[in-house]
Amino acid sequence: MALLSKKDSKLILDPLADNNPITIQVLGICSALAITAQLKASIVMSISVIFVMGVGNIVISLMRNIIPSKIRIIVQLVVVATLVIIVDQVLKAFSYQLSKELGAFIGLIITNCIIMGRFEAFALGNGVWRSFLDGIGNALGYGVILIIVGFFRELLGSGTLLGFPVLGDPIAKSGVYSIGYENNGFMLLAPMALIVVGIIIWVQRSRNKALIEEN
Protein backbone atom coordinates (compact mmCIF):
# COMPACT_ATOMS: atom_id res chain seq x y z
CA MET A 1 0.00 0.00 0.00
CA ALA A 2 2.90 2.32 -0.64
CA LEU A 3 0.80 3.91 -3.35
CA LEU A 4 -1.82 5.10 -0.90
CA SER A 5 -1.44 7.15 2.25
CA LYS A 6 -2.85 5.70 5.44
CA LYS A 7 -5.95 7.88 5.23
CA ASP A 8 -6.59 6.84 1.65
CA SER A 9 -6.24 3.14 2.26
CA LYS A 10 -8.72 3.50 5.11
CA LEU A 11 -11.22 4.74 2.51
CA ILE A 12 -10.94 1.45 0.68
CA LEU A 13 -10.59 -0.92 3.62
CA ASP A 14 -13.25 0.48 5.94
CA PRO A 15 -16.26 -0.40 3.78
CA LEU A 16 -14.98 -3.97 3.46
CA ALA A 17 -15.69 -4.74 7.10
CA ASP A 18 -16.68 -2.30 9.81
CA ASN A 19 -18.52 0.17 7.63
CA ASN A 20 -19.91 -2.28 5.10
CA PRO A 21 -22.54 -0.70 2.85
CA ILE A 22 -24.90 -3.66 3.10
CA THR A 23 -24.59 -4.90 6.64
CA ILE A 24 -23.92 -1.61 8.45
CA GLN A 25 -25.06 1.30 6.30
CA VAL A 26 -28.10 -0.62 4.93
CA LEU A 27 -27.58 0.67 1.42
CA GLY A 28 -27.99 -1.14 -1.86
CA ILE A 29 -29.94 -4.12 -0.67
CA CYS A 30 -32.58 -3.74 -3.35
CA SER A 31 -30.70 -5.27 -6.24
CA ALA A 32 -28.29 -7.25 -4.09
CA LEU A 33 -30.54 -10.08 -3.02
CA ALA A 34 -32.52 -11.14 -6.03
CA ILE A 35 -29.56 -12.10 -8.21
CA THR A 36 -27.45 -14.04 -5.72
CA ALA A 37 -28.79 -17.51 -6.47
CA GLN A 38 -25.69 -18.09 -8.60
CA LEU A 39 -22.11 -17.09 -7.95
CA LYS A 40 -21.55 -15.98 -11.54
CA ALA A 41 -24.41 -13.51 -11.51
CA SER A 42 -23.18 -12.13 -8.19
CA ILE A 43 -19.68 -11.59 -9.58
CA VAL A 44 -20.95 -9.87 -12.71
CA MET A 45 -23.22 -7.67 -10.62
CA SER A 46 -20.33 -6.73 -8.32
CA ILE A 47 -18.10 -5.81 -11.23
CA SER A 48 -20.85 -3.69 -12.76
CA VAL A 49 -21.38 -1.84 -9.51
CA ILE A 50 -17.63 -1.31 -9.02
CA PHE A 51 -17.42 0.24 -12.48
CA VAL A 52 -20.50 2.43 -12.04
CA MET A 53 -19.47 3.61 -8.58
CA GLY A 54 -15.85 4.31 -9.44
CA VAL A 55 -16.60 6.29 -12.58
CA GLY A 56 -19.75 7.88 -11.15
CA ASN A 57 -17.94 9.17 -8.09
CA ILE A 58 -15.24 10.71 -10.30
CA VAL A 59 -17.80 12.45 -12.51
CA ILE A 60 -19.87 13.77 -9.62
CA SER A 61 -16.77 14.87 -7.76
CA LEU A 62 -15.57 16.78 -10.84
CA MET A 63 -18.93 18.50 -11.17
CA ARG A 64 -19.52 19.07 -7.48
CA ASN A 65 -18.98 22.83 -7.63
CA ILE A 66 -21.23 23.48 -10.63
CA ILE A 67 -24.27 21.36 -9.75
CA PRO A 68 -27.08 23.53 -8.35
CA SER A 69 -28.06 21.84 -5.13
CA LYS A 70 -31.80 21.94 -5.91
CA ILE A 71 -31.61 19.71 -8.95
CA ARG A 72 -28.65 17.60 -7.87
CA ILE A 73 -30.74 14.42 -7.59
CA ILE A 74 -31.76 14.62 -11.23
CA VAL A 75 -28.15 15.33 -12.27
CA GLN A 76 -26.94 12.36 -10.25
CA LEU A 77 -29.61 10.11 -11.72
CA VAL A 78 -28.66 11.11 -15.25
CA VAL A 79 -24.98 10.39 -14.60
CA VAL A 80 -25.75 6.97 -13.11
CA ALA A 81 -28.29 6.13 -15.79
CA THR A 82 -25.72 6.88 -18.52
CA LEU A 83 -23.13 4.64 -16.88
CA VAL A 84 -25.64 1.86 -16.36
CA ILE A 85 -26.68 2.01 -20.00
CA ILE A 86 -23.01 1.47 -20.91
CA VAL A 87 -22.81 -1.56 -18.57
CA ASP A 88 -26.08 -2.93 -19.92
CA GLN A 89 -25.02 -2.57 -23.56
CA VAL A 90 -21.61 -4.15 -22.90
CA LEU A 91 -23.26 -7.10 -21.15
CA LYS A 92 -25.75 -7.52 -23.97
CA ALA A 93 -22.93 -7.54 -26.50
CA PHE A 94 -20.55 -9.93 -24.74
CA SER A 95 -22.72 -12.09 -22.52
CA TYR A 96 -26.27 -12.04 -23.81
CA GLN A 97 -27.35 -15.08 -21.80
CA LEU A 98 -26.27 -13.53 -18.51
CA SER A 99 -27.80 -10.19 -19.40
CA LYS A 100 -31.13 -12.00 -19.93
CA GLU A 101 -30.79 -13.68 -16.53
CA LEU A 102 -30.04 -10.45 -14.70
CA GLY A 103 -32.88 -8.79 -16.57
CA ALA A 104 -34.26 -5.67 -14.97
CA PHE A 105 -31.75 -5.83 -12.12
CA ILE A 106 -28.94 -4.24 -14.14
CA GLY A 107 -31.27 -1.32 -14.73
CA LEU A 108 -31.98 -1.20 -11.04
CA ILE A 109 -28.34 -0.33 -10.32
CA ILE A 110 -29.53 3.21 -11.14
CA THR A 111 -31.67 3.37 -8.05
CA ASN A 112 -29.27 1.33 -5.98
CA CYS A 113 -29.21 3.40 -2.82
CA ILE A 114 -25.50 2.71 -2.32
CA ILE A 115 -24.66 4.82 -5.36
CA MET A 116 -26.86 7.79 -4.53
CA GLY A 117 -25.86 7.45 -0.91
CA ARG A 118 -22.14 7.72 -1.61
CA PHE A 119 -22.67 10.57 -4.10
CA GLU A 120 -24.55 12.52 -1.45
CA ALA A 121 -22.37 11.60 1.48
CA PHE A 122 -18.94 11.70 -0.11
CA ALA A 123 -18.44 12.69 -3.73
CA LEU A 124 -20.27 16.01 -3.38
CA GLY A 125 -17.81 17.16 -0.74
CA ASN A 126 -14.47 15.59 -1.58
CA GLY A 127 -11.77 15.66 -4.22
CA VAL A 128 -11.57 13.40 -7.25
CA TRP A 129 -8.96 10.90 -6.08
CA ARG A 130 -10.53 10.39 -2.65
CA SER A 131 -14.00 10.09 -4.16
CA PHE A 132 -12.74 7.47 -6.58
CA LEU A 133 -11.22 5.45 -3.71
CA ASP A 134 -14.39 5.79 -1.67
CA GLY A 135 -16.48 4.60 -4.62
CA ILE A 136 -14.24 1.60 -5.25
CA GLY A 137 -14.11 0.75 -1.55
CA ASN A 138 -17.84 0.79 -1.06
CA ALA A 139 -18.51 -1.11 -4.24
CA LEU A 140 -15.98 -3.74 -3.09
CA GLY A 141 -17.70 -4.00 0.27
CA TYR A 142 -20.97 -4.51 -1.56
CA GLY A 143 -19.38 -7.06 -3.85
CA VAL A 144 -17.88 -9.04 -0.97
CA ILE A 145 -21.29 -9.58 0.62
CA LEU A 146 -22.84 -10.42 -2.74
CA ILE A 147 -20.15 -12.99 -3.46
CA ILE A 148 -20.40 -14.58 0.01
CA VAL A 149 -24.17 -14.90 -0.33
CA GLY A 150 -23.89 -16.16 -3.90
CA PHE A 151 -21.21 -18.70 -2.89
CA PHE A 152 -23.30 -20.28 -0.13
CA ARG A 153 -26.56 -20.20 -2.04
CA GLU A 154 -25.10 -21.87 -5.11
CA LEU A 155 -23.00 -24.38 -3.15
CA LEU A 156 -25.79 -25.50 -0.82
CA GLY A 157 -28.63 -25.00 -3.29
CA SER A 158 -27.38 -26.69 -6.41
CA GLY A 159 -24.03 -28.20 -5.36
CA THR A 160 -22.10 -26.24 -7.98
CA LEU A 161 -19.76 -23.26 -8.06
CA LEU A 162 -19.76 -21.05 -11.15
CA GLY A 163 -21.65 -23.89 -12.82
CA PHE A 164 -19.04 -26.59 -12.08
CA PRO A 165 -20.26 -29.47 -9.94
CA VAL A 166 -17.99 -29.46 -6.88
CA LEU A 167 -19.89 -31.84 -4.63
CA GLY A 168 -20.21 -34.69 -7.11
CA ASP A 169 -23.11 -35.72 -9.30
CA PRO A 170 -26.55 -35.82 -7.60
CA ILE A 171 -28.03 -38.18 -10.20
CA ALA A 172 -25.18 -40.69 -10.37
CA LYS A 173 -24.80 -40.45 -6.55
CA SER A 174 -21.06 -39.74 -6.67
CA GLY A 175 -18.99 -37.56 -4.31
CA VAL A 176 -20.78 -36.46 -1.13
CA TYR A 177 -24.11 -37.56 -2.62
CA SER A 178 -23.00 -41.17 -2.16
CA ILE A 179 -23.31 -40.81 1.64
CA GLY A 180 -26.84 -39.48 1.45
CA TYR A 181 -26.28 -35.74 1.05
CA GLU A 182 -29.03 -33.88 -0.80
CA ASN A 183 -29.11 -30.42 -2.36
CA ASN A 184 -31.16 -27.95 -0.36
CA GLY A 185 -33.38 -26.52 -3.09
CA PHE A 186 -34.71 -24.05 -0.60
CA MET A 187 -31.46 -22.07 -0.81
CA LEU A 188 -32.27 -21.17 -4.39
CA LEU A 189 -35.52 -19.47 -3.43
CA ALA A 190 -35.56 -15.73 -2.89
CA PRO A 191 -36.31 -15.62 0.87
CA MET A 192 -33.13 -17.50 1.75
CA ALA A 193 -31.04 -14.58 0.46
CA LEU A 194 -32.51 -12.45 3.22
CA ILE A 195 -31.88 -15.06 5.85
CA VAL A 196 -28.28 -15.62 4.69
CA VAL A 197 -27.62 -11.87 4.90
CA GLY A 198 -29.24 -11.88 8.34
CA ILE A 199 -26.81 -14.59 9.42
CA ILE A 200 -23.83 -12.67 7.98
CA ILE A 201 -24.92 -9.66 10.04
CA TRP A 202 -25.20 -11.89 13.08
CA VAL A 203 -21.69 -13.29 12.64
CA GLN A 204 -20.18 -9.89 11.95
CA ARG A 205 -21.78 -8.24 14.97
CA SER A 206 -20.92 -11.01 17.36
CA ARG A 207 -17.27 -10.59 16.34
CA ASN A 208 -17.35 -6.82 16.70
CA LYS A 209 -19.49 -5.84 19.66
CA ALA A 210 -19.21 -2.13 18.86
CA LEU A 211 -21.58 -2.60 15.94
CA ILE A 212 -24.49 -3.91 18.01
CA GLU A 213 -27.58 -1.71 17.74
CA GLU A 214 -29.51 -0.40 20.73
CA ASN A 215 -32.75 -1.92 19.55
Binding site: T23, I73, T82, I85
Partner: protein, 240 residues
Protein backbone atom coordinates in the same frame (compact mmCIF):
# COMPACT_ATOMS: atom_id res chain seq x y z
CA UNK B 1 -61.23 -10.82 -15.03
CA UNK B 2 -57.86 -10.00 -16.54
CA UNK B 3 -57.71 -6.92 -14.33
CA UNK B 4 -58.70 -8.80 -11.21
CA UNK B 5 -56.06 -11.43 -11.87
CA UNK B 6 -53.31 -8.85 -12.40
CA UNK B 7 -54.47 -6.99 -9.30
CA UNK B 8 -54.16 -9.96 -6.95
CA UNK B 9 -51.06 -11.24 -8.70
CA UNK B 10 -49.16 -7.98 -8.20
CA UNK B 11 -50.22 -7.66 -4.58
CA UNK B 12 -49.59 -11.19 -3.35
CA UNK B 13 -47.80 -13.46 -5.81
CA UNK B 14 -45.34 -10.93 -7.25
CA UNK B 15 -45.17 -8.76 -4.16
CA UNK B 16 -42.55 -6.06 -4.74
CA UNK B 17 -40.77 -6.64 -1.45
CA UNK B 18 -41.13 -10.35 -0.87
CA UNK B 19 -40.78 -11.71 -4.38
CA UNK B 20 -38.40 -9.26 -6.03
CA UNK B 21 -36.77 -7.36 -3.12
CA UNK B 22 -37.55 -3.97 -4.59
CA UNK B 23 -37.45 -0.90 -2.42
CA UNK B 24 -35.65 -2.77 0.33
CA UNK B 25 -33.55 0.21 1.42
CA UNK B 26 -36.45 2.42 2.39
CA UNK B 27 -38.37 -0.65 3.53
CA UNK B 28 -35.66 -1.35 6.13
CA UNK B 29 -34.88 2.25 6.98
CA UNK B 30 -38.39 3.66 7.42
CA UNK B 31 -40.10 0.70 9.09
CA UNK B 32 -39.34 1.55 12.69
CA UNK B 33 -42.75 3.11 13.34
CA UNK B 34 -46.14 2.26 11.86
CA UNK B 35 -47.15 5.89 11.34
CA UNK B 36 -44.15 6.80 9.19
CA UNK B 37 -44.41 3.48 7.36
CA UNK B 38 -48.00 4.31 6.40
CA UNK B 39 -46.90 7.72 5.07
CA UNK B 40 -44.18 6.25 2.89
CA UNK B 41 -46.42 3.40 1.73
CA UNK B 42 -49.13 5.82 0.65
CA UNK B 43 -46.58 7.92 -1.23
CA UNK B 44 -45.28 4.81 -3.02
CA UNK B 45 -48.80 3.78 -4.10
CA UNK B 46 -49.39 7.29 -5.37
CA UNK B 47 -46.17 7.64 -7.35
CA UNK B 48 -46.33 4.12 -8.82
CA UNK B 49 -49.89 4.72 -10.01
CA UNK B 50 -48.74 7.88 -11.78
CA UNK B 51 -45.40 6.80 -13.23
CA UNK B 52 -46.07 3.27 -14.49
CA UNK B 53 -48.80 4.32 -16.98
CA UNK B 54 -46.72 7.28 -18.18
CA UNK B 55 -43.72 5.07 -18.75
CA UNK B 56 -45.99 2.60 -20.50
CA UNK B 57 -46.96 5.34 -22.96
CA UNK B 58 -43.29 6.26 -23.44
CA UNK B 59 -42.41 2.63 -24.01
CA UNK B 60 -45.21 2.06 -26.52
CA UNK B 61 -44.85 5.25 -28.54
CA UNK B 62 -41.15 6.13 -28.35
CA UNK B 63 -38.89 3.37 -27.10
CA UNK B 64 -39.97 0.03 -28.51
CA UNK B 65 -38.76 -1.22 -31.84
CA UNK B 66 -41.07 0.23 -34.46
CA UNK B 67 -42.81 2.43 -31.92
CA UNK B 68 -42.00 5.58 -33.84
CA UNK B 69 -44.12 4.67 -36.88
CA UNK B 70 -46.63 7.34 -35.89
CA UNK B 71 -43.99 9.89 -36.94
CA UNK B 72 -43.81 8.50 -40.45
CA UNK B 73 -42.92 5.30 -42.27
CA UNK B 74 -39.19 6.12 -42.43
CA UNK B 75 -38.94 5.87 -38.62
CA UNK B 76 -40.37 2.34 -38.54
CA UNK B 77 -37.10 0.49 -37.86
CA UNK B 78 -35.76 2.69 -35.08
CA UNK B 79 -35.22 0.84 -31.81
CA UNK B 80 -34.57 3.21 -28.94
CA UNK B 81 -35.06 0.70 -26.15
CA UNK B 82 -31.47 1.21 -24.93
CA UNK B 83 -32.59 4.66 -23.82
CA UNK B 84 -35.31 3.31 -21.59
CA UNK B 85 -33.36 3.52 -18.30
CA UNK B 86 -32.53 7.18 -18.66
CA UNK B 87 -35.98 8.13 -19.97
CA UNK B 88 -37.79 6.20 -17.25
CA UNK B 89 -35.73 7.65 -14.46
CA UNK B 90 -36.09 11.16 -15.88
CA UNK B 91 -39.86 10.70 -16.00
CA UNK B 92 -39.89 9.44 -12.45
CA UNK B 93 -37.75 12.27 -11.14
CA UNK B 94 -39.81 14.94 -12.89
CA UNK B 95 -43.13 13.32 -11.96
CA UNK B 96 -42.08 13.20 -8.32
CA UNK B 97 -41.23 16.90 -8.43
CA UNK B 98 -44.51 17.69 -10.19
CA UNK B 99 -46.57 15.60 -7.84
CA UNK B 100 -44.88 17.32 -4.93
CA UNK B 101 -45.73 20.78 -6.28
CA UNK B 102 -49.34 19.85 -7.12
CA UNK B 103 -49.96 18.16 -3.79
CA UNK B 104 -48.47 21.08 -1.90
CA UNK B 105 -50.73 23.50 -3.75
CA UNK B 106 -54.02 21.60 -3.55
CA UNK B 107 -53.80 19.44 -0.48
CA UNK B 108 -51.46 20.79 2.20
CA UNK B 109 -52.73 18.17 4.65
CA UNK B 110 -51.66 15.29 2.41
CA UNK B 111 -48.41 17.13 1.68
CA UNK B 112 -47.63 17.42 5.36
CA UNK B 113 -48.38 13.77 6.01
CA UNK B 114 -46.21 12.58 3.09
CA UNK B 115 -43.59 15.10 4.15
CA UNK B 116 -40.03 14.27 3.30
CA UNK B 117 -40.94 10.94 1.74
CA UNK B 118 -42.00 12.32 -1.63
CA UNK B 119 -38.58 13.52 -2.82
CA UNK B 120 -36.93 10.37 -1.45
CA UNK B 121 -39.17 8.25 -3.60
CA UNK B 122 -37.40 9.26 -6.79
CA UNK B 123 -34.56 6.98 -5.77
CA UNK B 124 -36.72 4.16 -4.44
CA UNK B 125 -35.98 1.02 -6.42
CA UNK B 126 -39.62 -0.02 -6.24
CA UNK B 127 -40.65 2.85 -8.49
CA UNK B 128 -38.09 2.25 -11.24
CA UNK B 129 -38.58 -1.48 -10.76
CA UNK B 130 -42.29 -1.10 -11.40
CA UNK B 131 -41.59 0.55 -14.74
CA UNK B 132 -38.87 -1.93 -15.73
CA UNK B 133 -41.01 -4.95 -14.88
CA UNK B 134 -43.90 -3.33 -16.72
CA UNK B 135 -41.59 -3.22 -19.74
CA UNK B 136 -40.16 -6.73 -19.42
CA UNK B 137 -43.55 -8.35 -18.75
CA UNK B 138 -45.00 -6.66 -21.84
CA UNK B 139 -48.18 -5.39 -20.26
CA UNK B 140 -50.70 -4.96 -23.02
CA UNK B 141 -52.93 -1.97 -22.41
CA UNK B 142 -52.85 1.40 -20.70
CA UNK B 143 -55.55 0.34 -18.23
CA UNK B 144 -53.58 -2.77 -17.29
CA UNK B 145 -50.46 -0.66 -16.75
CA UNK B 146 -52.44 1.64 -14.47
CA UNK B 147 -53.75 -1.37 -12.61
CA UNK B 148 -50.25 -2.84 -12.35
CA UNK B 149 -48.79 0.35 -10.90
CA UNK B 150 -51.58 0.74 -8.37
CA UNK B 151 -51.64 -2.86 -7.19
CA UNK B 152 -47.84 -3.19 -6.90
CA UNK B 153 -47.98 -0.06 -4.77
CA UNK B 154 -50.56 -1.69 -2.53
CA UNK B 155 -48.37 -4.77 -2.23
CA UNK B 156 -45.44 -2.63 -1.11
CA UNK B 157 -47.67 -0.74 1.30
CA UNK B 158 -48.86 -3.99 2.88
CA UNK B 159 -45.31 -5.25 3.26
CA UNK B 160 -43.96 -2.14 4.99
CA UNK B 161 -47.04 -1.92 7.21
CA UNK B 162 -46.58 -5.52 8.33
CA UNK B 163 -42.87 -5.23 9.09
CA UNK B 164 -43.35 -1.93 10.93
CA UNK B 165 -46.00 -3.49 13.14
CA UNK B 166 -43.74 -6.47 13.86
CA UNK B 167 -40.77 -4.22 14.65
CA UNK B 168 -42.86 -2.19 17.08
CA UNK B 169 -43.75 -5.40 18.92
CA UNK B 170 -40.32 -6.95 18.78
CA UNK B 171 -38.88 -4.09 20.81
CA UNK B 172 -40.21 -5.87 23.89
CA UNK B 173 -38.68 -9.23 23.04
CA UNK B 174 -35.33 -10.58 24.06
CA UNK B 175 -33.49 -10.73 20.74
CA UNK B 176 -29.85 -11.94 20.81
CA UNK B 177 -27.74 -8.78 20.97
CA UNK B 178 -25.87 -9.11 17.65
CA UNK B 179 -29.15 -9.68 15.82
CA UNK B 180 -30.89 -6.61 17.24
CA UNK B 181 -32.20 -4.09 14.76
CA UNK B 182 -31.10 -4.93 11.25
CA UNK B 183 -30.32 -8.62 11.59
CA UNK B 184 -33.62 -9.73 13.00
CA UNK B 185 -35.47 -7.55 10.50
CA UNK B 186 -33.73 -9.38 7.68
CA UNK B 187 -34.62 -12.76 9.08
CA UNK B 188 -38.23 -11.80 9.75
CA UNK B 189 -38.53 -10.45 6.21
CA UNK B 190 -37.17 -13.76 4.95
CA UNK B 191 -39.75 -15.69 6.93
CA UNK B 192 -42.52 -13.38 5.71
CA UNK B 193 -41.31 -13.92 2.15
CA UNK B 194 -41.55 -17.69 2.67
CA UNK B 195 -45.10 -17.12 3.90
CA UNK B 196 -45.92 -15.06 0.85
CA UNK B 197 -44.64 -17.83 -1.40
CA UNK B 198 -47.70 -19.82 -0.42
CA UNK B 199 -49.73 -17.35 -2.46
CA UNK B 200 -47.91 -18.68 -5.51
CA UNK B 201 -50.52 -21.38 -5.94
CA UNK B 202 -53.35 -18.88 -5.81
CA UNK B 203 -53.13 -17.92 -9.45
CA UNK B 204 -51.41 -20.15 -11.94
CA UNK B 205 -51.19 -19.13 -15.55
CA UNK B 206 -51.39 -21.03 -18.83
CA UNK B 207 -51.91 -24.79 -18.83
CA UNK B 208 -52.44 -25.09 -15.11
CA UNK B 209 -55.26 -22.55 -15.20
CA UNK B 210 -57.01 -24.38 -18.00
CA UNK B 211 -56.62 -27.65 -16.08
CA UNK B 212 -58.06 -26.09 -12.95
CA UNK B 213 -61.02 -24.83 -14.92
CA UNK B 214 -61.78 -28.29 -16.27
CA UNK B 215 -61.29 -29.69 -12.75
CA UNK B 216 -63.72 -27.20 -11.28
CA UNK B 217 -66.14 -27.93 -14.12
CA UNK B 218 -65.97 -31.61 -13.21
CA UNK B 219 -66.58 -30.70 -9.58
CA UNK B 220 -69.62 -28.64 -10.55
CA UNK B 221 -70.98 -31.62 -12.46
CA UNK B 222 -70.45 -33.82 -9.41
CA UNK B 223 -72.22 -31.30 -7.20
CA UNK B 224 -75.16 -31.19 -9.62
CA UNK B 225 -75.32 -34.99 -9.63
CA UNK B 226 -75.33 -35.02 -5.83
CA UNK B 227 -78.05 -32.41 -5.73
CA UNK B 228 -80.27 -34.32 -8.12
CA UNK B 229 -79.67 -37.46 -6.06
CA UNK B 230 -80.66 -35.75 -2.81
CA UNK B 231 -83.64 -34.16 -4.56
CA UNK B 232 -84.71 -37.57 -5.83
CA UNK B 233 -84.24 -39.03 -2.35
CA UNK B 234 -86.34 -36.24 -0.85
CA UNK B 235 -89.04 -36.83 -3.43
CA UNK B 236 -89.01 -40.58 -2.72
CA UNK B 237 -89.14 -39.81 1.07
CA UNK B 238 -92.22 -37.68 0.53
CA UNK B 239 -94.00 -40.29 -1.54
CA UNK B 240 -93.35 -42.86 1.16
Amino acid sequence: MEHLELFFKSIFVDNMVFATFLGMCSYLAVSKKVSTAVGLGAAVIFVLTVTVPINWLLDQYILQEGALTWLGAEYADYDLSFLSFILFIATIATMVQLVEIVVERFSPALYNSLGIFLPLIAVNCAILGGSLFMQSREIESFALALNYGFSSGIGWFLAILAIAAIREKIRYSNVPAPLRGLGITFIITGLMAIGFMSFGGMLTGGDDAAKEESDSAAQVEKVIEKETETAQAAVSDKTE
